[in-house]
Amino acid sequence: MIYLDHAAATPVDKKVFAAMAPYFTEEFYNPSAAYLPAKKISADYEAAKGVIAHTIGAKAHDLIVTAGATEANNLAFTAAHGEILYLTTEHDSVRRVAEAKGGKAIKVLPSGLIDLEDLRRQITDKTELISVSLVNNELGVIQPLAEVAGIIREIKLDRMRRGVKQQLLLHSDASQALNLLDVSVARLGVDLMTLNAAKIYGPKGIGALYVAHGVRLEPLTLGGGQENGLRSGTENVPGVIGFAEAVRLAKEHLNGNRKKYAKWKKIFLSELSDYELIDKKHALDNFVVVSFDGIDAERLVFLLEAEEVYVATGAACAASKGVRSHVLKAIGLSERQIAGSLRITFGETNDEIQVREAARIINKAVREERARING
């Protein structure tokens, strides 16, 4: 089996799993309970949040723990009642919320990078929230978030000079980024940032929203008032413990992994034949997006599946309910290019031999499919 879809899901690291285990069976107390063993759980929970927060240069109380990135994105948008701008290539969990709140889309350049001119054009005195992901989930493109923050700073200063009171916030979904980029909220200049354990070898169903001081959110769930009253419900202690361990491991291996993936990408692309490379230079090191001319990539997915090679496609696939990728469309690809596109994301389940083998198997599948089409 060769798994090449680490942008979709990652296995839980064995160390992460081991760290979580006691909190399911022995350390199970409700952190809100009064007795000492429960207080210890509460302390462990806060310490774990602290580890996660520390990685992005924040404090434990700056994080609202959620059940995954989708919830964190939804919660982030409660900060805004005015106009909203969002990058057109955002994940559905941003796009759908932004659309529901009347948000307007910011264009991307053919490179997949944010069109900063379009951003400037669209900001008005009523704009309250701008949402730009750090790494796009389909292309792996890393957005120049610090530049966006720079523009926002300029506009805020200008508003102050003119006495315009409207706040202007920057939200970023950093779900895909935590294990391959150094993510400092101060350096990136974000007010709100979504984190996700499931993409960095942590458990699924756990995420967090970083909230800068002074940003006011509204809770989506009411109840016991956990997470600063913004996310009621008994704390997911094992989830947060696992998240923290995953973050710790990610940080430890950050530089080694980047070098490793960059090398694999180079090998993979040199062994692969007859393709068009879609992401050229702004993508994360473990992302490869390619298109095979005249091929229905979903057929490739099934052909590769039969060889136990698992990849994703941006084509109109059943899994995405027949909707072609809005991301690939936004960067100006033709229907034909989109139909033939595969997304390959390397990760910790792979090694160099697998990378070479995958290229060989994909070449074979493409050859077979071309032969079939030509009768």
Binding site: E298, R299, F302, E305, C317, A319, K321, G322, R372
Partner: protein, 441 residues
């Protein structure tokens, strides 16, 4: 040149094996997923995306072309609207019958033919009768078993053409029950047009369900043991009332005991209830409901007054009958022409042969000889309807066949039958041959 077949692929094992067989028989095969419904309903996830992926996965495995045809608008107009309007009239329609008539064997057929198909095919359990030297031979509709008496693989045989639709002018295409009596789906197919039937292949019609599954598993099809979808394709049997509530307002009314006319409780609208139903009745314990562990059944509905009548007596006269009047009757020309003597079955053996043992070989099993005295061409088409004696009737899918006679409007049974809900179909058979049917009034 190999003939081209467009096969409807639902993602299930039956249509997957149908496609597999067509490929093995040497046809040029194009798989088509008909997207008829994709909306999730409260508490019910529509599995269309998974089904589509299953269908495409099989198509890729077989190395055949695959397309998705979007019929959602037409399905909504022709099937769902029909269904809702029938329910509003107090009837219990059968959407699968309508889906076959309007979508699979009309829209799909027409579009496939326009795209260059010689035939369409589906994974239905049913057979086609074709004329061969004065006999009617039941099979898949493909010339393969008929000509060679041998199993698959000869392209040359396939190209000789399959159903003998109107080539002789003697036999219109004949719909017949599947080899697997337990799975036979002709109950849902009796309203499809002759023209479509004349260009239809039922590749698994000769097989038993366990054989279909076994073949799928042997050929490595991943969905060999996929759970079958039951009932109405998109809601499932239990979901019908919830589905209807999405479109029809709840209108509370009385439940009365039919014998005493006493009000026993209340219901959510008579149109949501079906004769014979015993669940979902809100009976009021203080109103004379007899709690002896025996359920009350719906035996009658008054749509105008919005009253549902119930009884504990399963023998109540309201639910038993010896006669059923039909409307929207559709009978195949077959019986006018060939069976018009009154004996629908000029069978040599006197008995319709049973089809179970031989099925896998693909060889012809059921041979109905044509009486030499039949002078078909001279029989006027507008001759007075002659009653059908000694036919068999099926009142619901997989229900037993009941002997009956049909006078052109009313079915007569020799002993009482449980009255099906109005709007359901009665399907008529002579031996294995499906004569057509009608909607129960």
């Amino acid at each position: 040149m190999a003939k081209t077949v467009y096969v409807g692929m639902s993602g299930g094992v039956d249509s997957s094996v149908a496609a597999l067989l067509l490929k093995e028989w040497g046809y040029k095969v194009v798989g088509v997923y008909m997207k008829n419904w994709s909306r999730d309903l409260p508490g019910m996830k529509c599995p269309w995306a998974d089904d589509l992926a299953d269908a495409k996965r099989v198509a890729v495995k077989l190395g055949i072309d695959f397309e998705v045809w979007d019929f959602e608008k037409e399905y909504r107009e022709k099937v769902v609207e029909y269904m809702l309007s029938e329910f509003k009239k107090g009837n219990t329609p059968n959407p699968d019958v309508m889906c076959n008539q309007e979508i699979k064997f009309k829209l799909f057929y027409e579009r496939a033919m326009a795209a260059g198909a010689d035939y369409i095919a589906t994974g239905h359990y049913a057979r086609i009768g074709v004329e061969q030297s004065g006999s009617i031979i039941l099979g898949t509709g493909s010339a393969r078993p008929v000509v060679t008496g041998e199993p698959p693989l000869a392209t040359s045989v396939v190209t000789s053409g399959a159903p003998q639709y109107n080539t002789s002018g003697l036999f219109p295409p004949i719909l017949a029950r599947a080899a697997d009596e337990n799975k036979d789906q002709t109950y849902f197919l009796y309203r499809i047009s002759e023209e479509a039937l004349g260009h239809t292949l039922f590749p698994i019609g000769d097989m038993l369900k366990p054989e279909v599954k076994k073949l799928a598993a042997e050929k490595g099809l991943h969905n060999a043991y996929k759970k079958e979808s039951m009932g109405v394709c998109f809601v499932g049997e239990v979901g019908m009332r919830d589905f209807l509530k999405e479109y029809i307002d709840v209108k509370p009314g009385e439940i009365r005991e039919i014998e005493s006319d006493r009000v026993l409780g209340y219901h959510e609208g008579a149109i949501f209830y079906t004769i014979g139903q015993r669940h979902g009745l809100y009976l009021d314990g203080e109103k004379g409901v007899v709690n002896d562990g025996m359920p009350y059944y719906v035996v009658k509905k008054d749509i105008d007054k919005n009253i549902v009548y119930v009884s504990k007596n399963l023998n109540h006269e309201a639910i038993w009958t010896k006669e059923l009047r039909l409307r929207d009757i559709l009978l195949r020309r077959f019986e006018y022409d060939v069976l018009g003597t009154g004996s629908a079955r000029p069978v040599v053996t006197g008995e319709p042969p049973l089809a179970t043992s031989v099925v896998t070989s693909g060889a012809p099993q059921n041979i109905y000889s044509k009486s030499p005295q039949d002078n078909i061409s001279s029989r006027p088409q507008d001759s007075i309807f002659e009653p059908f004696d000694s036919i068999q009737v099926r009142l619901r899918h997989r229900a037993p066949l009941i002997p009956a006679t049909f006078d052109g409007e009313v079915l007569h049974f020799s002993s009482e039958v449980k009255r099906p809900a109005s709007g359901q179909s009665a399907v008529l058979y002579d031996g294995k041959i499906c004569l057509g049917g009608g909607i129960i009034v």
